[in-house]
């Protein structure tokens, strides 16, 4: 069995995954066809082998996790239909992107796969697993991908190829003719070969194929313009939705704050009135002007409790008076399992955790983080270095390889640098999430406990 996916579809999955701050999943649309290869051997005249080819044409990303299944892994056919609509017939598989996890199907993925196989009626449904790992200093990142067909008992992994330009070699042009002194040869070839050329001596085929190419490129340009317009429209709507969500959250907070104020005033009016009756929380909230977190910002489409993003904006305004964070604080930290390697406003958030006096007495880092990222080979074994020997590696690259082993052995002492310049914040309600863990971490725990938390 063989499988292929176009480079553009593959990049698109990478793009959606990079945009997602948690795991990302979606469906694979395409075709499965059979190719017959006929071979002749000594024992038989001809053996026809049927090769199944899985062609992935397109992917349909899910906007959120748990959109068609619940925490118990039960797939809801209704949700599935509303997501897929008429694309349901073209589904040949599904995919999942996770960070810092093993190249194996998790238990939940397996049970979801079984249900999808039944519901979609695709006996050989495939599952494409993307796994993302990074070096400790985030300078090198690897995206590993494996295509599974879990419904088979043997040969569950299939090679996924990405067709490309490959061998269009320009060396095939001939710069000289084979020498030939035969007059007959020259005469025949010139007379009959003239069919191929037009009056300018240019080959007709050249003009024709160039016209085909031009027409195609014009079409590509035209569709590109349409896509660009749709991107801007989508961006605008997303902005509007985000703004509305913020306004609603702000309005809700204000009403809650007013309600609390009234309750406190009522309580105080019964006892001896004091000078400073305002509870610290209310004063903090009223002082803070809500503003959106600065770039890089996360899209608010993930199932995020609103208090997290609100909290970050509070951090910004509170800490703006303090010294600007040094470059050390902005250096990204090795991330906990399931969190992306991108620069979240982690240091500020972690400072907040310190101020809260949450049980973080000894460790500056609220989340245990692996000192080295998981570097498994997918078959249960692991290697020490991210720099595993790639197929066809050249020898002169060996010198560079030695440097990496040192980097991998770094321990998590980098964390101590983090919280030095943060201020202590006293008056935030205890219902705040522990920051440093970006929103909507995938709870997709691996039953075999392979995640390195």
């Amino acid at each position: 069995m063989a499988a292929s996916i176009s480079g553009y579809t593959f990049s698109s999955v990478c793009y959606h995954s990079a945009n997602s701050n948690s795991d990302h999943e979606g469906f694979l649309l395409g075709d499965v066809r059979q190719e017959e290869t006929v071979s002749i051997s000594d024992t038989q005249i001809s053996t026809a082998e049927l090769l199944q080819i899985v062609e992935i044409h397109n992917h349909d990303p899910c906007a959120q996790l748990f959109s068609f299944y619940d925490y118990a892994g039960k797939v809801s056919e209704e949700n599935l239909n509303s997501i897929l609509k008429d694309r349901r017939k073209k589904v040949i598989g599904w995919y999942r992107f996770r960070r810092n996890t093993q190249q194996q199907m998790s238990f939940r993925e397996q049970i979801i796969h079984k249900q999808l196989t039944q519901l979609l009626g695709v006996p050989d449904l495939v599952f494409l697993l993307f796994s993302f790992i990074s070096t400790a200093n985030s300078s090198t990142h690897a995206l590993e991908y494996v295509l599974f067909r879990p419904n088979r008992r043997y040969n569950q992994r299939i090679t996924l190829s990405i067709p490309n330009l490959g061998n269009t070699s320009q060396q095939e042009y001939k710069i000289s003719s084979v020498p030939n002194t035969s007059l007959n040869y020259a005469k025949v070839v010139k007379e009959h070969g003239a069919e191929f050329f037009d009056k300018d001596g240019v080959m007709k085929d050249i003009r024709t194929i160039f016209q085909v190419y031009s027409a195609l490129q014009d079409k590509v340009q035209a569709v590109c313009v349409e896509v660009e317009q749709s991107e801007r429209v989508k961006e605008k709507f997303q902005e509007d939705v985000n703004k509305l969500k913020q306004q609603i959250a702000l309005r809700k907070r204000k009403t809650a704050e007013e309600k609390r104020l009234r309750e406190v005033q009522n309580a105080d009016s019964r006892s001896t009135p004091e000078e400073n009756t305002e509870p610290p929380e209310a004063s903090l909230l009223s002082r803070i002007t809500f503003h959106a977190p600065s770039a890089p910002e996360r899209p608010s489409t993930s199932p995020n409790p609103p208090s997290y993003t609100d909290l970050l904006s509070q951090d910004d305004s509170l800490l703006s008076s303090s010294s600007p964070p040094t470059s050390a604080a902005l250096l990204p930290r090795p991330q906990a399992v399931g969190s992306p390697g991108h620069p979240t406003p982690g240091p500020l958030g972690m400072g907040l955790a310190m101020g809260l006096g949450l049980s973080l007495g000894t460790s500056p880092n609220p989340v245990t983080t692996p000192s080295t990222p998981y570097l498994g080979n997918g078959d249960g074994s692991s290697s020490d270095s991210l720099d595993r020997q790639a197929a066809g590696q050249e020898d002169d690259d060996d010198d560079e390889d030695d440097e990496d082993d040192d980097e991998e052995d770094e321990d998590s002492s980098e964390y101590e640098n983090l919280v030095s310049e943060t201020t202590h914040l006293q008056m935030v309600s205890a219902s705040v999430l522990v920051p440093g863990r970006p929103a909507a971490l995938s709870p997709d725990g691996d039953a075999r406990g392979s995640q390195t938390t």
Partner: protein, 260 residues
């Protein structure tokens, strides 16, 4: 270290991936356009796909003309976006080979750093497969060069790189992405023109060469233009669906806000 980190916008990352995955037989390259912030973070907003004049293995170098053309492009982007954009780095691909830069790469990078100490290099390694586990791999890394202490040779310095999420693909990145088929066709035309100008070829050889051109252009159309067009159409569909859903969500939120 002049640069503390690199932030690569995800739509620029998409174009780099598209480019790197376009061919497994040779290294592709391009330039990164963006700005360097006061925090010494290099922010890459988009990339420009370049033609490779020297197609020898592992000789990925940018000619001064290309650098100058890229600077002009950067100015155009600066006008369009209203931000100070310039060429801040280069990227190239390592198909079937390790992601680490070779000695030539490190030397080339060192040369660029002489002109601009914040210049960064990105490498995308692809078409790698572990035959035992049938695991495919795509890697990317960011580096600069520094003079080694012991010798006069240059050494690689690792620079943290992060892909910054961007939900909508920018206009500049889309334009860069659709440049690829045009560049490939231009390369083919230039090669053919040189061959065609050779007068001493007999008709059979000319027919052969013409067929090679046709064959190569067909390859480009089926391997690049076709899939590109398909992806664009799929993206348009996806966007249309998203817009409808976002409109509905906006209505709902407006009602909710009015009720409060």
């Amino acid at each position: 270290m002049a640069v503390s980190a690199v932030h690569l916008e995800s739509d620029a990352f998409l174009v780099c991936m598209n480019h790197a995955l376009s061919t497994e037989k040779e290294e592709v390259m391009g330039l990164c356009i963006g700005e360097v912030e006061v925090t010494r973070i290099v922010h890459i907003h988009s990339v420009i796909i370049l033609r490779r004049s020297d197609k020898r293995k592992d000789r990925v170098e940018i000619s001064p003309e290309q650098l100058s053309a890229a600077s002009t492009e950067a100015e155009r982007l600066a006008d369009m976006t209203g931000r100070p954009m310039r060429v801040v780095g280069w990227y190239h691909s390592h198909p079937h080979i390790t992601v680490w830069p070779s000695h030539v790469d490190v030397r080339t990078q060192a040369m660029y750093q002489m002109l601009d100490q914040c210049f960064v290099g990105l490498i995308f390694s692809c078409f790698i497969e572990d035959k035992n586990t049938k695991t495919g791999r795509v890697l990317y890394t960011c580096f600069q060069s520094v003079q080694a202490q012991k010798s006069s040779e240059y050494e690689r310095v690792e620079i943290p790189i992060h892909v910054v999420p961007r939900e909508a693909i920018g206009k500049v990145c889309l334009e860069s992405a659709v440049e690829l088929p045009r560049i490939l066709c231009q390369e083919e035309q230039d090669t053919y023109r040189k061959i065609h100008s050779l007068a001493h070829l007999d008709p059979v050889t000319k027919i052969h060469n013409g067929s090679v051109f046709t064959k190569n252009l067909c390859s480009q159309m089926s391997a690049v233009s076709g899939p590109l067009l398909q992806w664009l159409e799929d993206r348009l569909e996806q966007n249309k669906h998203s817009i409808v859903e976002l409109q509905q969500e906006k209505e709902k939120l407006l009602q909710e806000l009015a009720a409060l």
